[in-house]
Symmetry: C2
């Protein structure tokens, strides 16, 4: 069994080989740039962990795990153009450092590279691998589409929001896990259970991000508290607040959302106050706990020794503690 840290090192070493770089370098340099800034390598680590549940020869899954990380970075390249983002993990985004055309075309090349890498599996699994990856890739696209559409809508429901973050974020986490188990030869109901585990875990993580933006500890969370409130970002908390508020409170919240000139500290305090009165924090925690419970139950369906699953249980525990 490998630890998460060991897997991360193995993935890091594989990326350092830069085997994905082809001629012309100009097309692959932006891919190298976005890949070399690292990040947590969560998705390929999950692929290798899932594979490692069943098999120890993880080098057999390494190439396709790398492909999943390249796919993830392709979505970032294009999302950053669409969102006109300035920074990504503290560095200039590709379309700012070069230009939009570079980000579009190098993104396209990254997507194809991802397909090339992900198909590195035994022939017996190829059909399911390609089917599964196409489904994941399309869901991620759909998630981004909904996310962009929701920006200009004022009637997004809780259900729609959950569906959007599920598609945009959770599906790739779920797919990374399913992929690892699938190419390790796991039985169908088990790789599907891992997909469910990843989906619920992804939802819990995303909702926690929304929660911590309001209720997190600045020092621990590492981001500025209240950023989402300042920007009127349609988070789970804001959507839920509009859903459960009485007409008067709803009008009060709407007034803060509509206000063009405001004192940032005052707005954060006022909106947080509304959330407190409506019990939005507790509602959100309950929803997160519900997803974590579901992820735990999905994990229990996998009939490998409990100790081999310890890394996954630790992830659930980590998320449970993260909110405190």
């Amino acid at each position: 069994m490998y630890t998460i840290e060991q897997l991360r090192e193995i993935i890091k070493a594989e990326f350092e080989k830069k085997e994905y770089v082809e001629v012309p370098y100009s097309l692959f340099e932006p891919i190298q740039y976005i890949l070399e800034d690292g990040g947590k390598r969560l998705r390929p680590v999950l692929t290798l962990m899932a594979y490692n549940l069943y098999r120890d020869d993880i080098e057999n899954a390494l190439r396709s795990a790398v492909g999943i990380e390249i796919f993830h970075n392709y979505t970032l390249l294009h999302d950053d153009v669409m969102d006109d983002a300035e920074l990504r993990r503290g560095r200039q985004t590709v379309h700012k450092k070069w230009n939009s055309n570079v980000a579009i075309l190098s993104g396209d090349a990254a997507a194809i590279t991802a397909y090339k890498y992900i198909e590195s599996c035994e022939d017996q699994y190829l059909r399911q691998v390609i089917d599964g990856f196409n489904q994941v890739a399309m869901d991620v696209c759909k998630g981004q589409q909904y996310d962009m559409e929701f920006e200009t809508r004022n009637d997004v429901t809780e259900e729609e929001y959950i569906h959007m973050i599920y598609l945009k974020t959770s599906v790739l986490i779920a797919g990374s896990l399913r992929h690892g188990a699938l190419i390790a030869g796991a039985p169908e109901h088990e790789y599907k259970a891992l997909y469910d585990f990843g989906g619920y875990l992804g939802l819990a993580f995303q909702l926690q991000d929304d929660y911590l933006d309001v209720y997190g500890d600045v020092a621990e969370f590492g981001k500025k508290i209240g950023g989402d409130i300042t920007e009127n970002k349609k988070t789970y908390l804001l959507i839920k607040a509009f859903e459960v508020a009485d007409p008067e409170t709803k009008a009060e919240l709407q007034a803060w959302v509509d206000k063009k000139d405001f004192d940032v500290v005052e707005k954060i305090k006022a909106v947080t106050g509304i959330y407190d009165r409506l019990g939005i924090g507790e509602l959100t925690l309950k929803t997160i706990e519900n997803y974590l419970d579901k992820s735990r139950k999905a994990l229990q369906k996998i009939a490998v020794a409990e100790e081999r699953k310890s890394g996954f249980y630790e992830m659930i525990d980590f998320l449970e503690n993260r909110k405190k």
Copy 2:
């Protein structure tokens, strides 16, 4: 055996089913928009023709042929953003009708749809299908990269230019043919010969486009003569002229390229005059003839009855007559 017209009708009917459209419609509407304007459906027709060399149950190849056309249109969606093109086949481009984000994301969704469709083949061919399609897709990306880079370069050689148009245009034509033959169970040396046939045919076609822009008959060619000269487009003719010209003629040509204020008719006449003096028209025709010869030789390597190949020979003949 099906005629080209019959195949085109079958493909048209398949597109009219719009089975590729998924939820949310907003993501697929731009794909439907670019697909419904038709075009010649050259690539899927070639796939079905290649399949039909070996087998008559062409419905078995229809889905992946449609996938190749969807892939082609995905590249158009992104290329039009990168080139900031206003029109595509006489209609507004997607990024002009909607916006760039729509063209990027719907393009991404089209690429994934293409992969979903192209993998529709018997399991025994899946590995080669995916490998082949990844190679084609990446080559098309590389071709677009070179094309964009050449715009700002003044030292593009004939060899580089041929390589660029080969990657950008010919490879997908070649790949469409190879795909059809491959999934029909053709022997390897034959589907590779079809790939070569398509590559040479694509080069001949592209060079003819360059030629006809200068030497074509306005009524027959349907485009404005001299458009490439007006815009200083780096065509085979311009690159070749710079290559073979003596220093004095080179300076004369460079002066026309650099001129900011000019009378369009005068510039076209002057540059055409330089081409005439250097014999560029004949040089280009010779190169085209060379590629058509090579495409004919590639076709001869295919051991099916000559009559089954007649559609392909007609294409070569058509291109030979087109230049006159």
